[in-house]
C-alpha cells in the first residue's frame, strides 16, 4: 500500500515538474508572439515607454488604421498574396510529375534529381543571386512579379518534390497497376488515381511553397526595385530599419498581419506537414 502511494506521489511530482518545465519553455516559445500580438494594439509611445507593459492600457486600432492608410503597404500585401498564390500553383504543377518520377522510377535521372534536392539546400542565396539576376535580365524579367514567381517556384521545388515523393511512395503500386490494366496511360493514372489519394500531401506541399514565398526577403529585396511592386517582407523590413522608434506600432501591427497566413496554414496543415517532411526523408 505504501509503495503504491510512493509511486503515485513520484509520478505526480514528475508530472508537476514536467508541466513547470513546459511552461518555462513555452514562455520562451510563445512569449515573443504575445509581444507582437499585444504591441499591435498599443500606441507607439506605450510600446516605447520606460516600463514595458504586457496588455495594452487602452487598446487602439490606430496602428492598423495607419497601415491601411499607407498605400504602398496595402499594395505590397496584395503583391505578396498574388505572388505567393501563383508560386503555389506553379510549384504544385511542376512538382507532381517530378515527384511521381522520383517515387516510381529508378534511373540515373531521378537519382540525380534526389541529389539535387539535397544539394540545393546547401547553396546559400548569395551564390545564385547575381547569376539569377543576369538571367532574368536577359528575359527582361527583373523587377517584375513574373520573374520573382518563377524564382520562388523553382526554389520551392526541392521541398515540394520531397514531400510529395514521400506521400506518393505511400500509395500502393497495385492501385496504379489496376488502373493501367483498365487502360489508363500514366498521365491519367496520376490524374484520376494518384491526385485524389495524395490530395492532402499536394495541398501541404503547396501551402509550404505559399508560405516560403510569403516570407521570403532576400531575393525579393534584390530583384524588386519599384516600391509599388515590392512584397510585404520588404515593406516590413523598411519600417524596422527606419531610424528612431517612430514606427514601432506599425511594425508590430505589420508583423501581426504578416504572421496570420502562416499561422492559419500551419495550424490547419500541421498533421500533414510533419508526416510529409519526415516520411519523405526516412526511407
Amino acid at each position: 500500500m505504501q509503495a503504491k502511494v510512493k509511486r503515485k506521489g513520484k509520478k505526480l511530482l514528475f508530472s508537476i515538474l514536467g508541466l513547470l518545465l513546459l511552461l518555462v519553455l513555452y514562455f520562451y516559445l510563445i512569449g515573443p508572439f504575445l509581444v507582437i500580438l499585444t504591441n499591435a494594439f498599443k500606441t507607439t509611445s506605450e510600446i516605447n515607454s520606460a516600463v514595458p507593459t504586457f496588455l495594452p492600457k487602452n487598446p487602439v486600432l490606430s496602428n492598423f488604421k495607419e497601415l491601411a492608410g499607407d498605400q504602398v503597404f496595402m499594395q505590397d500585401i496584395k503583391n505578396s498574396f498574388k505572388i505567393s498564390l501563383i508560386t503555389m500553383v506553379i510549384a504544385i504543377l511542376l512538382a507532381i510529375p517530378t515527384a511521381y518520377s522520383m517515387a516510381r522510377f529508378r534511373n540515373k535521372l531521378t537519382s540525380g534529381m534526389v541529389v539535387w534536392v539535397l544539394l540545393s539546400q546547401m547553396i546559400p542565396g548569395i551564390i545564385t543571386v547575381v547569376p539569377v539576376y543576369n538571367i532574368l535580365k536577359n528575359f527582361a524579367l527583373t523587377n517584375t512579379h513574373a520573374g520573382l514567381i518563377i524564382c520562388y517556384a523553382v526554389w520551392s521545388l526541392p521541398f515540394s518534390c520531397w514531400m510529395m515523393r514521400g506521400f506518393i511512395g505511400g500509395v500502393p503500386k497495385e492501385l496504379e497497376e489496376a488502373a493501367q490494366i483498365d487502360g489508363c496511360n500514366t498521365w491519367q493514372v496520376i490524374q484520376k488515381i494518384l491526385i485524389p489519394v495524395i490530395l492532402p500531401g499536394i495541398l501541404t506541399a503547396g501551402v509550404f511553397a505559399f508560405i516560403n514565398a510569403w516570407n521570403e526577403l532576400f531575393f525579393a529585396l534584390c530583384l524588386m526595385k519599384t516600391p509599388a511592386l515590392q512584397t510585404l517582407p520588404i515593406k516590413l523590413q523598411s519600417y524596422i530599419g527606419m531610424g528612431g522608434f517612430a514606427r514601432d506600432g506599425m511594425v508590430a501591427a505589420g508583423s501581426l498581419v504578416s504572421t496570420i497566413p502562416g499561422l492559419i496554414v500551419f495550424i490547419c496543415f500541421q498533421k500533414f506537414l510533419v508526416t510529409g517532411l519526415t516520411s519523405g526523408s526516412v526511407k
Binding site: 518520377s101 523553382v154 508583423s255 504572421t259 499561422l263 500551419f266 495550424i267
Partner: protein
Amino acid sequence: MKKSTGQPRRLMKNQTKKSIMLLLPSLVCISILSLFPILRGIYIGFTDYKVGMPAKFNGLENYSYIFNNGYLKVAMKNTMFILLVSLIAIYLISLAVSILLNSNIPFRKLWRVLLIIPWAVPPVAKVGVWQKIFSVNNGQLNYLLTKLNLIDHNIGWVSDEKYAIFAVITIIVWGCIPFTAMSFLASMQAIPEENYEAAQLDGANAFQKFWYITFPELREISMVTVSLLFMWITTDFSSQFLLTKGGPGSATLTITVESYLQAFKYGNFGLSTAYGNIMVVVCAAFLFFYIRVLKQKEV
C-alpha cells in the same frame, strides 16, 4: 517463368522515356534557374567580378585574400560558435519539448498547436519583435531580469559585443525549435505502445525506457533534422544580418553576413561569392563527416 530477353529491355526503355517526359518541365526550369546559376555562381567565386566590370578569372586569388585578411577568421569563428551552440540548444530543447508532449501532461493538444508559432512567424517579424525584446532601456528581457533581481543594470544585448552573438543565437534557436520538436514527436509517436509495456514488465524505470526505447528511434530523424538545421543556419540571412549587421564591431560577423556585405556594400561580387563557396564547402564537409560517423555507429 522465363521471359524473353527483349521484353525487359523494352520495358526499361519505355519507363525511361516516361520518366523523362514527366521530369521535362521541372528539368527545364531547374536547369535555367537553379543548376546553371549555381554553377555560374560557384565559378564567379573564382573571378574578380565587381559591379559594372566584366568578370575575369583569377583563380584562387579571392581565397588567398580571404584567408590572409583578418575577417575570415572572425567570420568562421562566429559562424562555428553560432552553429555549435544553436544546434546543441535546439536539440536539447526540442528533445525536452517532444518528450513532454509525448507524455501524459494535461492540455497536450493545446501545447502541440502552440508549438507551431515560432515557425509561423516570418523572419522579418521575428527579428523585429526580438529586437524590441532585447531593447536596452525598454525591452522586455531587461525588465524581467531586473524584476527577478538577476541583473542590476540594463544589458545591451545587441549593442554589447559580449552578448550580441547570444542574441543572434537566441533568435535562431527560437525559430528552429518547432520543426525539430515536431519531427522528434512524430518519430516518438510511431513507437508502438507494446515496447514500453514490455519494458515496464521487465522493471524498467522512466529513464531506462527513454534511453533504450525512445532515444534509438530518434537516431534516424536526428540525422535528417541536424543536417537540415546545419544547412539552414549556415545560410540563414535574416536572423544574422537584420539584427546586428555583423556588429557591434565584428562580434556577430558570420560568413553569410560578410558575404552579403562584400556584395552589396562593396560591390565585390567575386569575393562575396567566394565566401559563399566556402560556406558550401563547410556544409558539405560537415554533412560528409556527420553522416559517416552516424553510419559507423549504427554498425
